[in-house]
Symmetry: C2
Subunit: 136 residues, 2 copies
DNA sequence: CTTTGTGCAAAGGCTTTGCATGCTT
DNA sequence: AAGCATGCAAAGCCTTTGCACAAAG
Protein backbone atom coordinates (compact mmCIF):
# COMPACT_ATOMS: atom_id res chain seq x y z
CA UNK A 1 0.00 0.00 0.00
CA UNK A 2 1.18 3.49 -0.79
CA UNK A 3 -0.39 6.24 1.23
CA UNK A 4 -3.67 5.76 3.12
CA UNK A 5 -4.18 2.99 5.65
CA UNK A 6 -7.68 1.62 5.43
CA UNK A 7 -7.22 -1.31 7.74
CA UNK A 8 -7.98 0.31 11.04
CA UNK A 9 -11.24 -0.48 12.77
CA UNK A 10 -13.11 2.78 12.90
CA UNK A 11 -16.37 1.96 14.62
CA UNK A 12 -19.72 3.48 13.80
CA UNK A 13 -19.91 6.90 12.24
CA UNK A 14 -21.14 9.89 14.16
CA UNK A 15 -24.41 10.79 12.61
CA UNK A 16 -27.10 13.08 13.88
CA UNK A 17 -29.48 10.13 14.13
CA UNK A 18 -27.14 8.05 16.17
CA UNK A 19 -26.62 10.89 18.64
CA UNK A 20 -30.33 11.46 18.95
CA UNK A 21 -31.01 7.82 19.52
CA UNK A 22 -28.27 7.57 22.10
CA UNK A 23 -29.62 10.54 23.97
CA UNK A 24 -33.17 9.19 23.82
CA UNK A 25 -31.99 5.91 25.23
CA UNK A 26 -30.07 7.62 28.00
CA UNK A 27 -33.19 9.45 29.00
CA UNK A 28 -35.27 6.31 29.17
CA UNK A 29 -36.94 5.82 32.52
CA UNK A 30 -37.58 2.13 31.79
CA UNK A 31 -37.03 -0.54 29.21
CA UNK A 32 -38.59 0.54 25.94
CA UNK A 33 -39.15 -1.08 22.58
CA UNK A 34 -37.71 0.23 19.33
CA UNK A 35 -41.10 1.59 18.39
CA UNK A 36 -41.55 3.38 21.69
CA UNK A 37 -38.14 4.96 21.35
CA UNK A 38 -38.98 5.96 17.81
CA UNK A 39 -42.21 7.53 19.05
CA UNK A 40 -40.34 9.53 21.65
CA UNK A 41 -37.88 10.79 19.09
CA UNK A 42 -40.62 11.81 16.69
CA UNK A 43 -42.47 13.45 19.50
CA UNK A 44 -39.36 15.44 20.32
CA UNK A 45 -39.11 16.65 16.77
CA UNK A 46 -36.58 14.20 15.39
CA UNK A 47 -37.25 12.93 11.91
CA UNK A 48 -35.32 9.74 12.41
CA UNK A 49 -36.70 6.71 10.60
CA UNK A 50 -38.03 3.60 12.30
CA UNK A 51 -35.65 1.31 10.48
CA UNK A 52 -32.72 3.37 11.64
CA UNK A 53 -33.90 3.10 15.22
CA UNK A 54 -34.15 -0.67 14.89
CA UNK A 55 -30.73 -0.93 13.29
CA UNK A 56 -29.04 1.39 15.73
CA UNK A 57 -30.49 -0.17 18.84
CA UNK A 58 -29.53 -3.57 17.56
CA UNK A 59 -25.99 -2.41 16.94
CA UNK A 60 -25.71 -0.74 20.31
CA UNK A 61 -26.96 -3.85 22.06
CA UNK A 62 -24.51 -6.00 20.13
CA UNK A 63 -21.75 -3.65 21.16
CA UNK A 64 -22.73 -3.95 24.79
CA UNK A 65 -23.76 -0.32 25.11
CA UNK A 66 -27.31 -1.38 25.82
CA UNK A 67 -29.17 -4.18 27.51
CA UNK A 68 -31.81 -5.91 25.46
CA UNK A 69 -34.47 -8.13 26.93
CA UNK A 70 -37.41 -9.95 25.49
CA UNK A 71 -40.68 -9.01 27.11
CA UNK A 72 -43.25 -11.68 27.90
CA UNK A 73 -45.25 -10.73 24.84
CA UNK A 74 -42.29 -11.15 22.57
CA UNK A 75 -41.07 -7.65 21.97
CA UNK A 76 -37.49 -6.59 22.42
CA UNK A 77 -36.92 -3.82 24.93
CA UNK A 78 -33.77 -1.78 25.43
CA UNK A 79 -32.22 0.14 28.24
CA UNK A 80 -28.91 1.45 29.44
CA UNK A 81 -27.66 -0.59 32.35
CA UNK A 82 -24.70 -0.93 34.59
CA UNK A 83 -21.88 -2.96 33.12
CA UNK A 84 -21.39 -6.62 33.83
CA UNK A 85 -23.79 -9.50 33.94
CA UNK A 86 -27.02 -8.99 35.81
CA UNK A 87 -30.73 -9.54 35.66
CA UNK A 88 -33.78 -7.32 36.09
CA UNK A 89 -36.85 -7.16 38.21
CA UNK A 90 -39.36 -5.15 36.26
CA UNK A 91 -42.75 -3.82 37.19
CA UNK A 92 -45.34 -4.90 34.68
CA UNK A 93 -47.38 -1.80 35.36
CA UNK A 94 -44.99 1.13 35.52
CA UNK A 95 -41.81 -0.41 34.20
CA UNK A 96 -39.76 0.39 37.26
CA UNK A 97 -36.63 -1.70 37.08
CA UNK A 98 -34.29 -3.07 39.70
CA UNK A 99 -31.02 -4.64 38.71
CA UNK A 100 -30.36 -7.95 40.36
CA UNK A 101 -27.29 -10.05 40.86
CA UNK A 102 -27.54 -13.72 41.69
CA UNK A 103 -24.00 -15.01 41.94
CA UNK A 104 -25.05 -18.40 43.22
CA UNK A 105 -27.16 -18.90 40.13
CA UNK A 106 -24.21 -18.32 37.87
CA UNK A 107 -22.29 -20.93 39.81
CA UNK A 108 -25.06 -23.44 39.56
CA UNK A 109 -25.32 -22.90 35.88
CA UNK A 110 -21.66 -23.65 35.41
CA UNK A 111 -22.02 -26.77 37.51
CA UNK A 112 -25.11 -27.81 35.63
CA UNK A 113 -23.48 -27.31 32.27
CA UNK A 114 -20.48 -29.37 33.27
CA UNK A 115 -22.59 -32.12 34.77
CA UNK A 116 -24.74 -32.42 31.65
CA UNK A 117 -21.92 -32.00 29.20
CA UNK A 118 -23.27 -28.80 27.72
CA UNK A 119 -21.06 -26.00 26.47
CA UNK A 120 -21.71 -22.34 25.77
CA UNK A 121 -24.73 -22.24 27.98
CA UNK A 122 -26.57 -18.98 27.73
CA UNK A 123 -29.24 -17.96 30.12
CA UNK A 124 -31.59 -15.09 30.12
CA UNK A 125 -33.54 -14.42 33.25
CA UNK A 126 -35.79 -11.52 33.95
CA UNK A 127 -38.44 -11.08 36.57
CA UNK A 128 -41.76 -9.41 36.01
CA UNK A 129 -43.93 -8.42 38.92
CA UNK A 130 -45.96 -5.61 40.39
CA UNK A 131 -44.15 -3.02 42.44
CA UNK A 132 -45.45 -1.67 45.73
CA UNK A 133 -46.45 1.68 44.27
CA UNK A 134 -48.52 0.07 41.53
CA UNK A 135 -50.05 -2.56 43.77
CA UNK A 136 -51.11 0.02 46.33
CA UNK B 1 -83.94 -22.63 35.62
CA UNK B 2 -86.39 -25.26 34.50
CA UNK B 3 -84.88 -28.35 32.95
CA UNK B 4 -81.34 -28.48 31.59
CA UNK B 5 -78.36 -27.39 33.66
CA UNK B 6 -75.87 -25.54 31.51
CA UNK B 7 -73.70 -24.28 34.31
CA UNK B 8 -71.31 -27.18 34.67
CA UNK B 9 -67.78 -26.74 33.39
CA UNK B 10 -67.44 -29.27 30.61
CA UNK B 11 -63.95 -28.68 29.35
CA UNK B 12 -62.85 -28.89 25.74
CA UNK B 13 -64.70 -31.12 23.32
CA UNK B 14 -63.26 -34.34 22.05
CA UNK B 15 -62.53 -33.71 18.46
CA UNK B 16 -60.42 -35.68 16.08
CA UNK B 17 -58.08 -32.70 15.71
CA UNK B 18 -57.55 -32.32 19.40
CA UNK B 19 -56.65 -35.98 19.75
CA UNK B 20 -54.25 -35.83 16.87
CA UNK B 21 -52.58 -32.77 18.24
CA UNK B 22 -52.29 -34.29 21.68
CA UNK B 23 -50.73 -37.42 20.27
CA UNK B 24 -48.33 -35.41 18.12
CA UNK B 25 -47.26 -33.44 21.14
CA UNK B 26 -46.78 -36.57 23.21
CA UNK B 27 -44.49 -37.94 20.54
CA UNK B 28 -42.36 -34.82 20.46
CA UNK B 29 -38.69 -35.53 21.04
CA UNK B 30 -38.00 -31.86 21.82
CA UNK B 31 -39.65 -28.51 22.13
CA UNK B 32 -41.39 -27.65 18.90
CA UNK B 33 -43.19 -24.64 17.53
CA UNK B 34 -46.81 -24.66 16.45
CA UNK B 35 -45.72 -24.68 12.84
CA UNK B 36 -43.40 -27.62 13.34
CA UNK B 37 -46.12 -29.57 15.05
CA UNK B 38 -48.46 -28.69 12.24
CA UNK B 39 -45.89 -29.91 9.72
CA UNK B 40 -45.56 -33.19 11.53
CA UNK B 41 -49.28 -33.69 11.56
CA UNK B 42 -49.62 -32.92 7.88
CA UNK B 43 -46.72 -35.19 7.14
CA UNK B 44 -48.50 -37.96 9.00
CA UNK B 45 -51.59 -37.47 6.91
CA UNK B 46 -53.63 -35.28 9.20
CA UNK B 47 -55.53 -32.48 7.55
CA UNK B 48 -55.64 -30.35 10.66
CA UNK B 49 -55.44 -26.62 10.07
CA UNK B 50 -52.65 -24.39 11.28
CA UNK B 51 -54.99 -22.09 13.18
CA UNK B 52 -56.40 -25.04 15.05
CA UNK B 53 -52.94 -26.13 16.04
CA UNK B 54 -52.17 -22.67 17.35
CA UNK B 55 -55.44 -22.46 19.23
CA UNK B 56 -55.18 -25.93 20.69
CA UNK B 57 -51.59 -25.64 21.83
CA UNK B 58 -52.38 -22.33 23.41
CA UNK B 59 -55.30 -23.82 25.25
CA UNK B 60 -53.32 -26.83 26.38
CA UNK B 61 -50.53 -24.64 27.66
CA UNK B 62 -53.00 -22.44 29.50
CA UNK B 63 -54.47 -25.55 31.05
CA UNK B 64 -51.08 -26.68 32.24
CA UNK B 65 -51.04 -29.75 30.02
CA UNK B 66 -48.05 -28.39 28.17
CA UNK B 67 -44.98 -26.32 28.84
CA UNK B 68 -44.50 -23.32 26.61
CA UNK B 69 -41.23 -21.47 26.28
CA UNK B 70 -40.07 -18.61 24.17
CA UNK B 71 -37.04 -19.42 22.08
CA UNK B 72 -34.24 -16.88 21.72
CA UNK B 73 -35.51 -15.90 18.32
CA UNK B 74 -38.97 -15.17 19.59
CA UNK B 75 -40.98 -18.22 18.68
CA UNK B 76 -43.10 -20.12 21.14
CA UNK B 77 -42.20 -23.77 21.57
CA UNK B 78 -44.25 -26.45 23.28
CA UNK B 79 -43.55 -29.71 24.97
CA UNK B 80 -45.00 -32.12 27.47
CA UNK B 81 -43.10 -31.94 30.72
CA UNK B 82 -43.14 -33.34 34.17
CA UNK B 83 -45.51 -31.57 36.49
CA UNK B 84 -44.43 -28.83 38.82
CA UNK B 85 -42.21 -25.85 38.36
CA UNK B 86 -38.90 -26.42 36.61
CA UNK B 87 -36.62 -25.03 33.96
CA UNK B 88 -34.93 -26.43 30.89
CA UNK B 89 -31.48 -26.84 29.51
CA UNK B 90 -31.88 -27.13 25.78
CA UNK B 91 -29.38 -27.95 23.06
CA UNK B 92 -29.44 -25.28 20.40
CA UNK B 93 -28.40 -27.81 17.80
CA UNK B 94 -30.41 -30.96 18.37
CA UNK B 95 -33.00 -29.77 20.83
CA UNK B 96 -32.13 -32.30 23.50
CA UNK B 97 -33.72 -31.11 26.70
CA UNK B 98 -32.87 -31.63 30.33
CA UNK B 99 -35.28 -30.55 33.02
CA UNK B 100 -33.68 -28.59 35.79
CA UNK B 101 -34.70 -27.71 39.30
CA UNK B 102 -33.08 -24.84 41.13
CA UNK B 103 -34.76 -24.65 44.52
CA UNK B 104 -32.37 -22.05 45.84
CA UNK B 105 -33.31 -19.76 43.00
CA UNK B 106 -36.96 -19.93 43.89
CA UNK B 107 -36.08 -18.99 47.44
CA UNK B 108 -33.98 -16.08 46.36
CA UNK B 109 -36.73 -14.82 44.15
CA UNK B 110 -39.16 -14.80 47.03
CA UNK B 111 -36.63 -12.96 49.16
CA UNK B 112 -35.91 -10.52 46.39
CA UNK B 113 -39.58 -9.80 45.78
CA UNK B 114 -40.18 -9.16 49.46
CA UNK B 115 -37.13 -6.98 49.80
CA UNK B 116 -38.09 -4.82 46.83
CA UNK B 117 -41.79 -4.75 47.59
CA UNK B 118 -42.80 -6.54 44.44
CA UNK B 119 -45.75 -8.91 44.25
CA UNK B 120 -46.71 -11.63 41.78
CA UNK B 121 -43.20 -11.99 40.52
CA UNK B 122 -43.00 -14.29 37.55
CA UNK B 123 -39.78 -15.62 36.22
CA UNK B 124 -39.01 -17.56 33.16
CA UNK B 125 -35.60 -19.09 32.88
CA UNK B 126 -34.36 -21.39 30.20
CA UNK B 127 -30.84 -22.36 29.26
CA UNK B 128 -29.62 -22.79 25.75
CA UNK B 129 -26.29 -24.46 25.05
CA UNK B 130 -24.59 -27.07 22.96
CA UNK B 131 -24.75 -30.64 24.15
CA UNK B 132 -21.77 -32.99 24.15
CA UNK B 133 -23.02 -35.00 21.19
CA UNK B 134 -23.46 -31.92 19.04
CA UNK B 135 -20.23 -30.28 20.12
CA UNK B 136 -18.18 -33.40 19.42
C1' DC C 1 -13.74 9.53 -3.28
C1' DT C 2 -15.18 5.55 -0.80
C1' DT C 3 -17.83 3.61 2.52
C1' DT C 4 -21.26 3.46 5.79
C1' DG C 5 -25.75 5.30 7.43
C1' DT C 6 -30.45 6.65 6.44
C1' DG C 7 -35.36 6.55 4.69
C1' DC C 8 -38.93 4.67 2.70
C1' DA C 9 -41.61 1.14 1.47
C1' DA C 10 -42.01 -3.58 0.74
C1' DA C 11 -41.37 -8.05 2.35
C1' DG C 12 -41.05 -11.57 6.06
C1' DG C 13 -42.29 -14.55 9.80
C1' DC C 14 -45.07 -15.80 13.47
C1' DT C 15 -49.50 -15.48 15.42
C1' DT C 16 -54.28 -14.07 15.83
C1' DT C 17 -58.94 -13.28 14.19
C1' DG C 18 -63.47 -13.17 11.39
C1' DC C 19 -66.74 -15.82 9.58
C1' DA C 20 -69.22 -19.66 7.63
C1' DT C 21 -69.50 -24.55 8.21
C1' DG C 22 -69.20 -29.05 10.70
C1' DC C 23 -69.18 -31.80 14.67
C1' DT C 24 -69.97 -32.74 19.82
C1' DT C 25 -72.84 -32.99 23.27
C1' DA D 1 -81.04 -28.23 18.52
C1' DA D 2 -77.36 -25.26 20.53
C1' DG D 3 -72.77 -24.10 20.83
C1' DC D 4 -68.02 -24.84 20.69
C1' DA D 5 -64.36 -26.29 17.28
C1' DT D 6 -62.40 -26.07 12.74
C1' DG D 7 -60.64 -24.20 8.29
C1' DC D 8 -59.48 -20.95 5.41
C1' DA D 9 -57.95 -16.68 4.33
C1' DA D 10 -57.16 -12.17 5.76
C1' DA D 11 -55.33 -9.14 8.94
C1' DG D 12 -51.95 -7.80 12.69
C1' DC D 13 -47.59 -6.93 14.72
C1' DC D 14 -42.98 -6.53 15.22
C1' DT D 15 -38.90 -6.68 12.72
C1' DT D 16 -35.85 -7.05 8.76
C1' DT D 17 -34.36 -6.00 4.09
C1' DG D 18 -33.62 -3.81 -0.70
C1' DC D 19 -32.41 0.03 -2.84
C1' DA D 20 -31.39 4.81 -3.96
C1' DC D 21 -29.71 8.84 -1.80
C1' DA D 22 -27.17 11.50 1.77
C1' DA D 23 -23.50 12.02 4.85
C1' DA D 24 -19.06 10.91 7.19
C1' DG D 25 -14.23 10.11 7.12
Amino acid sequence: MTSTDHTRATGPRNTRQRSEIRRAVEDLPTFASAQEIHDRLRHDGSGVGLATVYRTLQAMAAGGELDAIRTPDGQIAYRICSPGHHHHLICRRCGRTVEVNIPSLEQQIRALAAEQGFAQVDHELEFFGTCAACAG
